[in-house]
């Protein structure tokens, strides 16, 4: 494990780069396969004898299932299996820890195949496997389900009322930390509370107080590749799952738990992933495909279509947030109070906890209170989406901050600098920050060409906003085998989203002092590498990179010992420095020693694991210029710049890509994305034609500023990058819209009809 001294020893001096590999831009190892179409994604997997699965989904948003008759489906020629939840083991009240949070298995199982109730339109009820997809789909439509239709509840505040229909009779309100539960079934699954200082005293000391309410809509991650799972349940009980997922070991555990089999009986083989952003962690298809396979006696592939993905996977939640903040005459925050309710969807598990912890994270708040609720509604169960919970919270807080700045007559960037969280700042949840880089991102924006440039013409405005997320550490494992020519095969279990394969290889290369191009990284199945937690929480470059560093160190130790043996000297006379083995009167490169050692001894295999949780947290600050069409309410983005502290940019192009991608998704969240439901609880825009996400025609180049405040909790100073960039955009856009046309938006998305509504209201009031 690296010490701080080792990290400091890596400091460059003058113009000398600190690192040889880190900070460069090698071509990604998977690039050729990706750009030529040779990369294999989930649906590209073809297994001998494979048959095809189809899912019957609920047409109702809320209903009791009175009966399911599958006889007609089973009778259709070509049908090989038909299953319902009755074919899945009853999980009871067991809760499983999945590395990144826990899950109530009964809820997860019921989400895969509904048991007694359907809780959203698109909820899966039964599944069919047949010789081809057309027969499977036809058979699914022959399944007869008798429903008792119930009224849906679609709004978080309405779901919290005593009169609301209750979705889950087993859900009681749990007070987090005490574990106390209410006596009655309810849609309010969890309550959180954080308090710091004296909130009443803080507001009493304030000169200006602003209190506002905000609403955000359900939005989807928008990954290009739909969910897919192919499963083979052998007669010997071995189960193989081929799937596109953010976490093969998590899939293994979920499948094992839901099917009640030992972990060692399940092997998960990763395909390439066509996006995930948090939406490909839960299983939706794998247990179903495996069960179909067991009955049919053949491998089964189940693929969602786009409507299925939007209706029946895990979007990120809509929310209702109340923010009250007070400042003194000098602009210092004296108090901040937040009340937050996030939609969990059909089953408990929204990111309310993270949202509650993030809501004031960018500010030094002496007196604070945050109350949060996890609330079930008749929508698909929510899942993570970059910086879960933080974007909703930032939109609310940053918008109140803007209004306080106006009252103070203070420039927003200066207010943020004055009140910014720094090392040692205590969050409202009680934890103090280690070394962090928020101030540096604010200063970077303040000094940027964009921020300094004039913005002229009518109906144009500029806004800034900041965001934070924690990032995660958790567990990773890596195995590195040195080949006889000195190249290295690097095996890891972290799904590659955004180039992490290369970023991990680079950290390994830096450790050994060799070229990144001499390493072949591979993401392998769950039987071929040690346990690795999901690709999520911006943890892979940090954690799997650390494991690679440890594997490199392990190889160094082995090489030194074996070189000493080969040269017949004491091991303390041999050292490894910058890719060379140094001994008495000897200096041999890594490649040369690899050739020698492979000829005379056992293979060189390095092993690295990490289980560190000092990810440091990350901050970003964005600035955006917009032009608002006063006749339509359409917001056009003229210029966008994002500054983010990434600790150390292992591969700057990937950092830039993550920042750009996150910003674009945040812009979509801010300006036009939302799940649109009718009164019956049907999503009316369950396709990409109607669920509008930004394209390159809608946006300028997202300019990035990489700020590097090394994380002292990592040997190379890495902080995760992917979570934060989605957080500032909605708030920055709201500020820019106000600057342009004088209306404050308190609801997302700030779509043309909503902006126009506010414009007309303002016009009428004037």
């Amino acid at each position: 494990m690296a010490t701080i001294d080792e990290t400091k020893a890596a400091e460059g001096s003058g113009d000398t780069p600190k690192y040889k590999v880190i900070g460069t831009r090698p071509i990604r190892h998977d690039g050729a396969d990706k750009v030529t179409g040779r990369a294999l994604y989930g649906a590209d997997i073809k297994v001998k004898g494979m048959i095809y699965g189809a899912i019957l989904r609920s047409p109702h948003a809320h209903a009791n299932i009175k009966s399911i008759d599958t006889s007609k489906a089973k009778a259709l020629p070509g049908v090989r299996a038909v299953i319902t939840s009755a074919d899945l083991p009853e999980p009871g009240d067991k809760i499983a820890e999945l590395g990144e949070g826990s899950v109530v298995l009964n809820h997860l199982s019921s989400n895969n195949l509904a048991r007694t109730k359907v809780l959203y339109k698109g909820h899966s009820i039964a599944a069919v496997a047949a010789d081809n997809i057309h027969i499977a789909q036809e058979a699914a439509n022959l399944i007869e389900v008798e429903y008792e239709v119930l009224p849906p509840v679609l709004n978080v505040l309405k779901a919290m009322s005593d009169e609301a229909p209750v979705l889950n009779p087993d859900v009681r309100t749990e007070e987090v930390a005490t574990g106390e539960k209410g006596d009655e079934p309810t849609n309010i699954a969890k309550r959180f509370l954080f308090e710091k200082g004296d909130i009443e005293k803080g507001f009493a000391e304030a000169k200006y107080v602003v209190e506002r309410e905000f609403n955000t809509s359900t939005v989807h991650q928008g990954y290009i590749e739909p969910h897919v799972a192919t499963a083979l349940w052998n007669n010997d009980g071995q189960i193989t799952v081929w799937t596109s997922t953010q976490g093969t070991f998590s899939v293994r555990q979920q499948v094992a738990e839901l099917l009640d089999v030992p972990l060692a009986r399940v092997k998960v083989v990763p395909a390439e992933i066509g996006g995930g952003f948090g939406g490909k962690i839960s299983v939706y298809l794998a247990p179903v495909a495996a069960t179909l396979s067991r009955i049919a006696g053949a491998p089964v592939q189940v693929v969602m279509d786009r409507t299925d993905v939007l209706q029946a996977t895990g979007p990120t939640p809509g929310s209702h947030i109340k923010i009250k903040m007070g400042v003194d005459a000098d602009g210092h925050i004296t108090a901040a109070d937040a009340w937050m309710a996030y939609e969990a969807g059909a089953y408990p598990g929204s990111p309310i906890g993270a949202g509650a912890m993030c809501v004031f994270s960018c500010y030094d708040v002496p007196n604070g209170r945050v109350e949060g609720y996890d609330v079930c509604v008749n929508k698909p169960r929510t899942n993570a989406y970059r910086a879960p919970g933080a974007t909703n919270a930032a939109f609310a807080t940053e918008t109140v901050v803007e209004e306080l700045c106006e009252k103070l007559g203070m420039a927003p960037v200066d207010f943020r600098l004055l009140n910014a969280s720094k090392e040692g700042t205590r969050r409202v949840d009680g934890v103090t920050y280690p070394r962090i880089g928020l101030v540096e991102t604010l200063e970077a924006i303040k000094e940027s060409d964009h921020f300094k440039s004039p913005l002229e013409a009518q109906h144009r405005g500029r806004g800034i906003a900041s965001g934070f997320w924690f990032n995660a550490g958790l567990k990773s494992a890596v195995t590195a085998t040195v080949n006889s020519d000195g190249s290295v095969s690097l095996l890891e279990g972290s799904t590659d989203i955004g180039g992490s394969r290369t970023a991990i290889a680079m950290q390994f290369a830096e450790t050994l002092g060799i070229a990144a191009e001499d390493i072949k990284p591979a993401v392998v199945d769950t039987d071929s590498v040690g346990y690795t937690d999901v690709t999520g929480g911006s943890r892979v470059t940090y954690a799997t990179g650390w494991a690679a560093y440890e594997a490199g160190k392990d190889l160094q130790r082995q090489i030194v010992a074996r070189a000493a043996d080969l040269w017949e000297v004491d091991s303390d006379q041999v050292s490894y420095e910058d890719g060379y083995v140094l001994g008495p009167d000897k200096k041999v490169s890594f490649k040369e020693i690899a050739v020698e050692l492979s000829a005379v001894g056992e293979p060189l295999v390095g092993r690295g694991v990490s289980n560190h949780n000092e990810p440091g947290g990350a901050f970003g600050t964005h600035v955006v210029d917009v032009e608002v069409d006063p006749d339509t309410g359409k917001v056009d983005i003229l210029r966008y710049t994002a500054a983010q502290d990434c600790g150390t940019a292992i591969h700057p192009a990937y950092v830039e890509g993550q920042i750009q991608g996150g910003a674009v998704q945040g812009i979509g969240w801010g300006l036009n994305e939302e799940y649109w439901y009718d009164e019956d609880g049907s999503m009316r825009n369950a396709n990409f034609l109607d669920y509008r996400i930004p394209t390159c025609y809608d946006l300028p180049m997202i300019d990035t500023i990489i700020v590097e405040v090394p994380n002292p909790g990592h040997p190379f100073g890495v902080r995760g990058v992917g979570e934060v960039p989605i957080v500032p955009p909605p708030a920055a856009l709201a500020a820019a819209i106000y600057d342009a046309v004088g209306v404050r938006m308190d609801e997302l998305p700030m779509s043309p009809p909503r902006v126009l509504h506010e414009l007309l209201k303002k016009q009428k009031e004037s």
């Binding site: 809760i95 826990s102 005490t178 993270a354 912890m357 910086a387 995660a472 949780n613 909790g713 992917g722």
Partner: protein, 87 residues
């Protein structure tokens, strides 16, 4: 001795205190120390000596994967927070 920050929803069981200096070499021992002062807190915070699902322990700024078995120093700060997952 380490400082244990009492979750707000638990403070009413601990005389309204926000934090308390406790004894112990691990998080579990620290909670036991708090329970000695305010009986019943242990069962609410970590029933049967186990961390509740969906709860994490932070020691000295970092969420610890070791949970209640995490060693603490005399200068340590202990917090119980919601477990979170990333995207």
């Amino acid at each position: 001795m380490p400082r244990l920050f009492i979750p707000p929803l638990l403070r009413s069981y601990c005389g309204g205190k926000e934090e308390m200096i406790v004894e112990g070499a691990t998080v579990l021992e620290a909670v036991q120390s708090l329970d000695n002062e305010y009986p019943g807190v242990m069962e609410r915070l970590c029933p049967e000596g186990k961390l509740r699902a969906g709860t994490s322990v932070t020691v000295d700024q970092n969420v610890t994967p070791r949970g209640l078995s995490q060693k603490v120093s005399s200068e340590s700060e202990i917090h119980f927070l919601p477990a979170i997952g990333g995207g």
